[in-house]
Symmetry: C2
């Protein structure tokens, strides 16, 4: 099955042409960054917490301190909405109404729950390190038992998800194309700087290959 | 009063040294981008919707089609959490446990509600255009009555908010500084490209001053 089946929870009613339910489109958006926004509810109050995440198939993972409110709330199983957004540009149309944003986003719905056994937690943490910096896991000193206990890893199977994508230039009312106002796109993206070694870096340690031309996705 | 008073809803328990409740810090984070994530609850289900926003004092605004699910849900007054996150870098420590992200984020809590009268809606829309592209509002053709009706503008007074900020290099266990693994920061930021004129731009329309060296914030 190559697409998620949308229910009213994920089906886009407005501008349905921007919606994608197929796994290829959804995974591509999810794999283009490592910061998501996790939505959850405590006593009717919505919370949106930014955190790092990674993906394995249709499963999303995130982690943090076992003392974190978000993780304590989610660890026993709670509905969550994980949203990932890439802002690709400012779209300046000839009217305010048609001005827009170019973006790629995913809203993924599921039930979050903590991983229970140590082996699963370790495997998930390794996947995160290797996803961002392939080869680094084996360079790091092993995770200690205390560190493992102090860390909660959340997994969420995606029950349903929708990708929303807008790209390209402005689409104006036909009558407005003759107006003498500038129209177009200001492209936006992620800037990656040169790796900055820690001031206490052990002398002689070279910049690892996985940081050369490092980029997201 | 220069700081928000945190209740359990916004008070940071984990790593309280990263928390800021003063308006200066919170406004600075809010003013550094125009994409936020709005969290809201429908029938116990959390939703997190990315959208553009702007700020006036302690009030946040966002807008969209009057047919949007989010806006229809929020228009009559609903608890919301608006989160804004800037990802500033990947912090590679000598252990996975101390590896981190440099970021600036704000979680703002309040009750969202639609603006009712046309004058307030127009003023809010103008503020948004002028915030991103100062001087552009008067270049655009006027908003039509139909466009105004088709647009819902949401305002949310911030009841409480917290900024979370992490910056700087890794902080490792003292014993780990002697390890021969690379440690440091990969800086991340927003890349702004050259404005791309629409292919149907009226000949002779120059790139406006407000797009020269355009940047966020």
């Amino acid at each position: 099955m190559n697409a998620f089946t949308p229910t009213p929870r994920s089906r886009l009613r407005r501008k349905p042409e921007r919606a994608h339910y197929d796994r290829g489109a959804i995974h591509a958006v999810l794999d283009a960054h490592f910061i998501c926004h996790v939505g959850y509810v405590v006593d009717g109050q919505p919370y949106v917490t930014p955190t790092s995440y990674w993906r394995d198939g249709d499963r999303l993972y995130w982690h943090g301190s076992s003392a974190s409110r978000m993780l304590r709330h989610l660890r026993d199983g709670a509905p969550a909405c994980v949203t990932v957004t890439h802002c690709d540009g400012l779209v300046l149309a000839r009217s305010g109404f048609h001005s827009s944003i170019n973006y790629r986003s995913v809203m993924a719905f599921g039930t979050a729950r903590a991983l229970e056994d140590e082996a699963s937690k370790l495997a998930a943490m390794k996947a995160f390190v290797e996803r961002l910096t392939p080869g680094r896991w084996d360079e790091l000193r092993p995770v200690t038992k205390q560190e493992l206990e102090a860390t909660t890893v959340i997994g969420m199977d995606i029950d349903e998800a929708v990708a929303k994508v807008r790209s390209g230039g402005p689409v104006d009312d036909e009558d407005d194309y003759g107006l003498g106002v500038w129209a177009g796109v200001v492209p936006l993206g992620v800037a990656v700087g040169e790796p900055e070694p820690d001031r206490r870096l052990k002398p002689g340690v070279p910049t690892p290959d996985y940081l050369k031309d490092w980029r997201l996705g």
